[in-house]
Symmetry: C2
Subunit: 428 residues, 2 copies
């Protein structure tokens, strides 16, 4: 029978225990045994090492029901930090979070624009160093950089095919270059998935941890969370609703397909249509030609959205049309994944969110396929500008904090049965 099995705690056990402590706020060792299913010996060993590494601190005692009071443990949020960098054409957003995911510093800088990739990377390294130094955080406590950018990301690096404003990045080894320039480990990810994670960690999403964040920045995307865990797909490019077809005979998109949501409804399409009509361009205050360096799709899109909200008919018609297509694409996402919650996020929605929200909610109420089973709630993010950067930072923290329950939805017929809990791998 293999004799006694001696559990040897390894990295994932430690991360799982740390995540339970984080989620609990304060918890005793006995509480950890109950919450994780690990043995008393395992918890004792893991907690001792976490305390030695300064990741966990003992903090007072809880009243016990008989017996001696129990020592409470809590996360030491200042033990480790992570940098989140959100790279986009129109802006680069930085956050520094502590181990609990709380933002301790943030800053926004000029976007990738027309700069060469190496110049942008050198700037990212300088700006990251400034962020960390400005917050008074020791460099050795920074775990790494979470870097998110528009998809599709290839396995090693680069964006292929790259969105038009970022064409120069198609073959650029983004993660290696940033890793070298900053001297920190880099976790590369999709901006929309990071946005969903950022919404979840910042507590904006109540109730279900299975939802999608529809993300509008320079382009359109979506991030999918299943039980609080990002759904990545085969290559980290899941959720790209900007490139699902909403009109089989529609215009060609930069991605090579036809009738994509982004080609019909995206900020660049809206701005191009506004600029093509003199009256609409005037109403929105757009220059006849985009001025290199002083104008960007994001700023022009916000100007069209502001004019639409004022009621100017040209801009309003364009924004309504865009909202209608985004609503149809969101319905597709909700129907394919049978979702009950959508969060609208991204800097593109700062002004336009109040136009898109009612259009999307109305479409889902009327045409979501399983609407007789349940509604789909749509909400506007309250942290749209920083959600992707926060999500990027949390992907770094997750190397220290791994949730215990990473399962997909449990089939209805099994849901009432107790699930087995994890234990450290055994060596016989």
């Amino acid at each position: 029978m293999g004799g006694a099995v001696r559990p040897i705690p390894h990295a994932s056990t430690r991360a799982a225990v740390l995540d339970v402590i984080r989620a609990a706020g304060t918890i005793s060792r006995v509480g950890l045994i109950a919450a994780t299913g690990f043995t008393g010996a395992t918890i004792s060993t893991v907690v001792r090492r976490l305390i030695d590494d300064d990741l966990v601190v003992e903090t007072g005692r809880a009243e016990s029901t008989g017996g001696k009071p129990r020592v409470l443990l809590q996360l030491n949020p200042a033990a480790r930090y992570a940098v989140g960098v959100h790279l986009d054409h129109s802006g680069i957003t930085y956050v520094l979070t502590d181990l609990s995911g709380a933002v301790v510093a943030r800053m926004s800088r000029t976007g990738a624009g027309a700069e060469d990739p190496p110049a942008v990377v050198a700037r990212i390294a300088r700006e990251t160093a400034a962020l960390v130094a400005g917050a008074g955080v020791e460099e050795r406590r920074v775990l790494g950089v979470g870097l998110v950018a528009p998809g599709p990301l290839t396995a090693r690096s680069g964006m292929r095919p790259a969105p038009p404003p970022l064409r120069g990045w198609a073959d650029f080894p983004l993660d290696d270059a940033v890793g070298e320039a900053t001297g920190l480990p880099v976790v590369l990810g999709n901006d929309a998935t990071a946005a969903a994670l950022g919404e979840y960690w910042s507590g904006a999403v109540k109730g279900s941890a299975t939802f999608a964040a529809v993300y509008v920045c320079t382009g359109i995307g979506a991030g999918i969370l299943v039980n609080g865990i990002p759904y990545h797909g085969t290559s980290g490019n899941a959720g790209e609703i900007g490139h699902v077809c909403v009109a089989a005979d529609g215009p060609e998109c930069w991605c090579g397909a036809r009738g994509c949501t982004e080609a019909l409804a995206g900020p660049a399409a809206v701005v191009a249509a506004a600029r093509a009509d003199a009256g609409t361009a005037r109403a929105a205050g757009l220059a006849p030609e985009p001025r290199r360096g002083t104008s960007s799709v994001a700023a022009d899109f916000a100007a069209v959205a502001r004019a639409a909200r004022r009621g100017d008919p040209g801009p309003k018609a364009l924004m309504d049309r865009s909202a209608r297509y985004l609503a149809v694409a969101t319905r597709t996402l909700a129907t394919v994944l049978d979702l009950d919650r959508i969060v609208l996020t991204g800097q593109g929605l700062a002004v336009a969110g109040s136009i898109y929200l009612p259009a999307i909610q109305e479409e889902l109420d009327r045409t979501f396929f399983a609407r007789e089973s349940h509604p789909v709630a749509v909400q506007l993010s309250t942290s749209a500008a920083t959600a992707p950067a926060i999500g990027a930072a949390t992907t770094v923290l997750q190397s220290e904090l791994v949730p215990l329950h990473t399962g997909t939805r449990i089939p209805a017929d099994l849901a009432e049965e107790e699930q087995p809990r994890r234990a450290p791998a055994a060596r016989g």
Copy 2:
């Protein structure tokens, strides 16, 4: 620190051990300890109970590398059986599988057609009893009935909104009625999800256990498997690509939305278009009016597909148009989920599959968003007629067999780290 933790095996531990034995073919107790991470004591207790219950048998001994030879365990496939019932307008398909998921009996009968739901349910009970008796299986060994039907299924029962041919079922308590008529537990599910599961269990899908089965029967749907586990969504209605929008200005669908795949490309739409054109109807050999009882959408659709394969221009144009829309919807599914494999299945593809397959593969090669990262392989099912019924039966078996690894895809940054294994829940 809470004293000794005494693991008490519960239902899920037992199911997990049983599934490891199933997957292994034959395995020793030492092998089970290594594969599951459970302690020797737990494995010993669980295996003894599985043998007592006749679910597992000891079968010979393996040569050991030194020491005494080890007793090998294997599943007793004849210990338990499950019935799978696939209910559709145009046919009802039954399978009886043993505990290993192997089909021991199958039969096809007339579909729900225009019969009243209670009459169909009474027939299902009779036909189920005949299936079990005909296979010479004792009733007490039948775990239950997996019953799958077109979505959307509401929480308790019924299809709301119901597809037009099944309108009488909208408020019918399907699971309760079949449970009462058969005297067996019933697990209700979506036909397309069951089809994906059936493809997976029947071994048709090699490689990745994350894929979608695009399912064409009377309607169009899709089933999604993530790491071999069905993705159900909030209400069991995930994957409904028949009701995603591929043409925002397209015709109204019975579901209430506009431009749905099913309204443009589904078998009923193809047959209606063929019937509306005298030349096409003649080429396909369709009667001018559908004859109640003697004709069905499925048979007429197959007739149009056969005429298209012969090269008749009218039917060919209709099938090419249908294939084009289904290809676009499949691209949407692949892009949203970042899939690398699609299986085409369902009785509707028996004849039409060879028309759809190249159209879908071409569309994905050309326009799948992450195509620079990886291709999407498309394959035609070799068990299209029975896949949903097999999948239905496996949902019942899963109450005895629960896979150990039910996690979602592990993020790239964690993939190289060893994952913790499960152990029985501890009681401190």
